[in-house]
Amino acid sequence: MPSTLEKIRILGENSKYDICASTASSRTEKYPGLFGDPKKTIGNTVSAGICHSYTPDGRCMSLFKTLYTNKCIYNCKYCFSHSCKHKVSFTPEEYARTFMKLYSMNVVEGVFISSAICGSADQTTEEMLEAIRLLRFKYNFGGYIHFKCLPGVSQSLLKDAISMSDRISINSEASTKEFLSEIAEQKDFYNDIITRQRWLKQIRIKHNEEALKAMNDLKADNKLEEQEKMIKERRSDGYKKFRWDGAPILNCGQTTQFVVGAAEEETDLDLLKRIDWGYRKIDLRRAYFSSFIPIKGTPLGSKQAAPLEREHRLYQSDWLMRIYHFKLKDLEGVVTEEGNLPKGDPKIHLAKEYFKHHKRVNPNEASYQELLRVPGIGPISAKRIINLRTQKFVFKRRQDLRAVGVVLKRADPYILIDGHSQTTLHHFSNEDYMETQIKEFYC
């Protein structure tokens, strides 16, 4: 019988490619009594985002991230469990106790529970739920729980998982059915993954609407309408208008993860199309990308690793769609013929494309969306600029922009201040520009 330490070593290593970042949750602030009297529960998610450790690759290690079991009925070609000879499982009590010990040492902030599929998805999920139940109701843990939903799990178990978790996720792994069957032929893309993602959205919305109506304190404060608006309202492109809607359950929403570069012909555009669909149709909160790393002993063990830079570009593009409200159509305009993102910051590529047909931006006149087009200006500095303009502040110097947080070395080629633009190195390679400058000088 393997010891708990041995299980942590094996199952922790098996889960290291699963990505999770956030421990933020607005739950406790608005709904303190969700898991009982807050004075009697352990853990808090209000001041979340604190990381207690970092691995030597610089990644934050704030969650107790292990698999529940690595005994798996699937044979995914990229997966660690495929090659691992030692098959072990936690027991619910062992899992809960180990986590509580680590939490009491202040080395982790919450739980990330994932698993291989032992027997059936429902059987394994039942056991995972038992561990979560022990945490919530025996050890009174009220902190952050990220539950990894297994492909093909039944709707009733999904409801249970939602009611006890802060965030839930189902790994898509690939962008389409064809690409998924290439790397994990036993998984059914539409039935096991897409259908479950749709269920998550439906269950969450239905439950939250009912819960909001039952909340007397919100009725009394006339906040109900506002809350419902936050849950339902959408941007013109179909994305959710409010990322954190303060919903009573699962308020960190659902996420997903892709293995980048495992399927032979999968392009960045395919992945971007899938996450765009996710934001519009299933209220995806965010997507994670994990560059494919070959693992010895797996069918893809001899395949070349995907460059980490590709993962980085995908995160940048995702950020542009989600936070900057760029449309997929914009990004389609900059991808290469093969359908991948070009080298370099996607926002700079987008700006180069956009400013071919548009004039430079004058910060004293430009709209919020136009300002966001400029590299070096993000949502915060754009808001500051608009905010200052409404108070009749005029930007006359580059330093004024620097003061509000604009990165001038990036923004310079695209902005016009007081009718002038800053000369950049790019101008010196432009012959027409140099000619006019020389003429002006001699005149």
Binding site: V46, P56, R97, N106, I380
Partner: protein
């Protein structure tokens, strides 16, 4: 009706501090003087928020130092809990932020008494279940013993009375992906100064790196 915003208000993580926040917290800094407080009152808030003058810049730097120290303590203080619900640990704080750290732990463990010993001042501060803070000029061990004496054993704290250090070390090692090793990024996330904190002096993070070199040699 929406609240009218100060046009120079910085939004997001770099939003700066209001007059009120500054006056309330500047005294926490180890180099605080009443003169600084007088300066805060005279400087307009917009200038303070945007570090518009040298003095404003200095004040903001002082505030940042205070809150960074509190944040580091919340991150890297390693604690233990006994079967009577007393959570204890050691911190090393230059500035007067121990109450902020205690409140953080109190929110996480509301039914426990939290005891933190500050190496710099050699004092033990405690926060009880009701949120009342007291300080003792006694070593941590003695304070923990005194408090535990009157408290009954709590079953679910009794359940977790085993050593967790090896568990954390195993978990920490298991999460490392060699292909992604990035020393610079790691250093940015845990700067060298953090390894001087009591919880990190002999921390798993440091041992792990050292072991690797030894094994190589």
């Amino acid at each position: 009706m929406t609240k009218k915003r100060d046009p120079l208000e910085v939004i997001g993580c770099a939003k700066g501090y209001s007059h009120e926040e500054l006056i309330k917290n500047i005294h926490r800094h180890s180099r605080y003087s009443p003169e600084i407080e007088r300066q805060i009152i005279t400087i307009p808030e917009a200038i303070l928020r945007n570090s518009g003058t040298q003095m404003a810049k200095k004040i903001n730097k002082m505030m940042r130092e205070v809150f960074t120290e509190a944040y580091r303590a919340k991150q890297f203080t390693r604690t233990e809990i006994n079967n009577r619900g007393v959570l204890f640990g050691i911190v090393s704080l230059k500035h007067n932020v121990l109450d902020l750290v205690l409140v953080y732990f109190h929110e996480r463990w509301p039914q426990c008494v939290i005891c933190l010993y500050n190496e710099q001042t050699r004092e033990t501060w405690i926060i009880d279940e009701k949120g009342a803070i007291r300080q003792f000029h006694q070593p941590l061990k003695k304070v923990v013993e005194n408090i535990s004496r009157d408290r009954r054993i709590v079953p679910y704290f009794e359940d977790i009375q085993f050593s967790g250090e090896e568990i954390f070390e195993t978990l920490y090692k298991s999460q490392f992906i060699a292909e992604r090793e990035n020393k610079q990024y790691f250093k940015k996330m845990i700067p060298d100064c953090c390894f001087e904190l009591p919880g990190m002096k002999n921390g798993v993070e440091k041992r792990f790196r050292n072991k690797k070199i030894n094994e190589f040699l």
